[in-house]
Amino acid sequence: MLIKLTGGKVYDPANGVDGEVRDIFIENGRIVSPEPNAKVDQEYALHGRVIMAGGIDPHSHIGGGKMNIARMMLPEDHLGHEVARTELTRAGAGHAVPSTMLTGYRYAEMGYTAAFEPAMLPVNARQTHMEMADTSIIDKGAFAMLGSDDFFLRQLAGKADFSAIKDYIAWTMHATQAIAVKVVNPGGISAFKFNQRKLDLDEKHVYYGVTPRDIILTLARGLNELGVVHPLHVHGCNLGVPGGYETTLDTIKGSEGLPIHLTHIQFHSYGTEGDLKFSSAAAPIAEAINQHKNVSCDVGQVMFGQTCTASGDSMRQFVTSRSADPKKWVVMDIECDAGCGVVPFKYRDKSFVNALQWAIGLELFLLVNDPWRLFLTTDHPNGGPFTWYPHLIRLLMDKNFRQDMMQKINPDALKYSTLASLDREYTLYEIAIMTRAGPAKSLGLVDRGHLGVGAWADITVYDDNPDREAMFSTPELLFKNGELIVRNGKIIKVVNGGTHVARPNYDPGIERSLKRYFEDYHTVRMENFRLTDDEIIDGGRGSLIIQPTRARAA
């Protein structure tokens, strides 16, 4: 069946298309260029509408152990947000930490077609994928967490052959069905189990004797040489610490030109000026990012209201637990592999600190020049639920609206930030980069995030409403693989999304040492740790989308 989308204004940055009026044709799930007189079976007249590829969220905590802890711990997050079953859709509940099916529906209703769980503990991979399998409609993917796991740390401490380290990284990606690798508080999650309470970039882990810098560089170089497209996804040291921006600058400068992605950089851009010793250091961070082309980032924008923070960073979350609101929290040490911390949080616009966090995120958006290296996230749900994205887009695109919002926040906060002096307004083209083309390129998603011939037809159609929040809240149409899924913000068809994975080469000989290691120390056998392809496919509940890697170097 040939479908024609006629007359819309197309924003397709991957192909350099900036608001041109173009027709788009869809056949067999993909965008095609039909013969001039081909018979069109269905036509949508989209004159005046804005057309973009489906949104791609490169960093959103949507599944796995810590999210289920958050859901379980916070019935109050769900009460009043229950959704009934319909003939098409399943029941569910939740606001900041919604149930799985609801998460998929909410993303689709907002014009998104993919979201990536950034913190999958390898030992928890099976649960993470089961939850993502129950996340409707959208495609998913997950980043395997390494860097506080005993096997890697003992390799590093024992000065193991670098190719063996790369084999282990690649093996972990296969075994956990991951598309990328993330490091969280490098070595710090492990150090916390040895009762270290902080671990600076050049501070030694008391047991392994290695530093976060060693860990970041080894993983970043390893992934680069393995040919994995997405660079090492770095949740740095000292998250949320006033003065932590210096560590962030050192991390950027110390990256030795290796590609790295700094995630939720807002939480790592805090200075120590002023009476409260808390100020914005967005300007020096943005300048460093502008200068270092090997670095990309996502923001982790803070939004006001109730949410829940959920992180692999048990060391920092234990400290944050003092500010838990409501007053309950969970911290876990997990399997000599990693950890997690789940702390509910309420960001208040009248709080100096929270208002400044909000301003710092916006400053970063407005000061980083290259939207191809800066992605739009709230680090869902850590800075706020992803359902805030339309509001955030309006803050970036509409200076007057931004200034109105600035009037509502703690006025002292603005004194320690440059936000009020920034006039930049994002264009639709730049928004399309930050929310589709950029993440797709960074994650190495072939045929996604763009609207060129051959791309999968993940397409969002918006009304060109000057109120950008309204525009991005309720897309008129959403196509997933060429099927119409959403009309006027309402789901009209439910499909099962796929799972993006990447599979760098490794020497299977690594399994000999791993098998022995699991048998000696672990409570799970290596054979049961690994997830098979069939577990993802699961009789049609899911499917695998294997993304290419570059050739492995050595």
Partner: protein, 428 residues
């Protein structure tokens, strides 16, 4: 999910995960024996009883009379359709079984709860009111130098816990790991498994009635904060014993306190769980310590987890309005049955035949393992296979960190609970 082929001939399986208690040990070796299965290696009494249960494949029944599976399914669907308030209880099944039962409860407008949720709720209540710092099996096995067993007979619940987690000789962090201290707080707790073990140093027994364990932990918490506690009797222990225990906790490089909510069968036992966990949270301000909750049998950890990710709530959810309506008290299975509020019970028990349905006079649909013996004849009985024996599946371990793949070990005509539930849903 047959990640491993039989390596020593037909029907000989290695690295088998066991579904018969919440530890889900996955190092079992199982082979054929006559018509059945035999646990060849790493089995415990529970594993042997479960895996070696003979295969019987009775017919489904309606009112005690044999019928076809299709007829049993059609009757079950009709009963659910006609029911004003169906209760979906037991939930002794794997992840897919829970997924299917929630879908059915949504469509049929009923309430879901697990047979053992009174125990689980002693934990959930604490998580939902104050939270905790916990650890997992591999972490405890390699890291802990002090174990405190609080009020649960671990050996009886998990016959291999001490062998695998406490007495293990190898440790990640030392070739000659230090000896461990194990403290038992409670009455009549079996510690025979520790006798003569190389890793075990001191074994200390502190006789305290289960309902007074919270008092001991609350006192330690107060003492740790510098409070002055008068008197010499603390939960039935002499003051010196409590001082000594606190000193050991503070000196430990990584202490682990173990409890099992199902063992704390007295009113408001969640407050004991809370006392344990508030103590652990506070001692973490200076040194490292963690809680470890045991139990999780009959798929109860999986049921709570799947219900949470699909509905937002850990069991005790009613779908009568179409929306998930959560009420910890009102939608408790036992309360609903006692108050005769439901008019139909669907009971699911695919692991142990001991998970018998409650003796209730409301009509019942039983999806049970073949040797199950209900007190009354169910309206509909559909024998189902056991996940990890008759069909593949996944179960979540009691520490909620790890989920394990279950294998199909024998040819069996018994359907999975998930497949039966899906057919009932389709027939609604």
């Amino acid at each position: 999910m047959n990640s491993q082929k039989s390596s020593n001939g037909a029907n000989h399986f290695e690295n088998v995960a066991c579904p018969f208690c919440g530890l889900h040990c996955d190092d079992l070796e199982i082979g054929p024996s006559g018509d059945g299965l035999k646990v060849l290696k790493n089995g415990c009494a529970k594993a042997v009883a479960g895996f070696e249960r003979p295969l019987v494949e009775p017919n489904p029944q309606v009112d005690g009379k044999d019928v076809s599976l299709d007829e049993a399914i059609a009757t079950a669907a009709r009963l659910i359709k006609e029911s004003r308030l169906p209760i979906f209880g037991g939930l002794g099944t794997d992840i897919d079984g829970v997924r299917s039962v929630i879908a059915l409860a949504e469509k049929g407008g009923g309430i879901v709860d697990h047979a053992l949720s009174d125990g689980s709720y002693r934990n959930y209540r604490v998580m939902q009111s104050s939270g905790w710092v916990t650890t997992t099996l591999t972490e405890a096995r390699n890291r802990a130098d002090l174990f405190i067993i609080a009020g649960c007979d671990v050996q009886k619940m998990h016959p291999r816990f001490f062998e695998r987690i406490v007495c293990n000789e190898a440790s990640m962090f030392s070739d000659t790991p230090p000896k461990r201290t194990v403290v038992f707080i409670g009455e009549g707790l079996d510690h025979s498994a520790l006798k003569g073990q190389e890793r075990i140093g001191e074994v200390i027994t502190l006789p305290v009635k289960a309902e007074r364990i919270g008092e001991v932990l609350d006192t330690m918490r107060a003492l740790n904060k510098g409070a002055t506690i008068p008197g010499n009797d603390i939960g039935g222990l002499p003051r010196a014993a409590v001082d000594d225990l606190l000193a050991r906790c503070k000196a430990a490089s990584y202490g682990v306190i173990v409890w099992a909510p199902s063992s704390l069968g007295f009113p408001s036992a969640d407050l004991t769980v809370q006392a344990v966990n508030e103590f652990v949270k506070e001692i973490n301000l200076t040194s490292r310590f963690a809680g470890l909750s045991l139990g999780g049998s009959e798929g109860s950890t999986s049921a709570g987890a799947v219900c949470t990710w699909q509905s937002g709530f850990p069991l005790r959810v009613s779908y009568t309005s179409g929306k998930p309506d959560y009420d910890v008290e009102r939608y408790s299975l036992n309360r609903l049955l006692f108050a005769k509020e439901g008019d139909l019970l669907l009971w699911l028990a695919s692991f142990s035949p001991d998970l018998t349905p409650p003796d209730t006079d409301i009509p019942m649909i039983l999806l049970g393992t073949p040797s199950i013996k209900p007190a009354r004849t169910p309206k509909v009985y559909i024998p189902v296979g056991t996940p990890g024996v008759d069909h593949t599946g996944v179960l979540m371990r009691v520490d909620s960190a790890v989920s394990l793949p279950l294998r199909k070990l024998r040819q069996s005509k018994l359907p999975s609970a998930a497949s039966v539930l899906e057919k009932i849903e389709a027939a609604l």
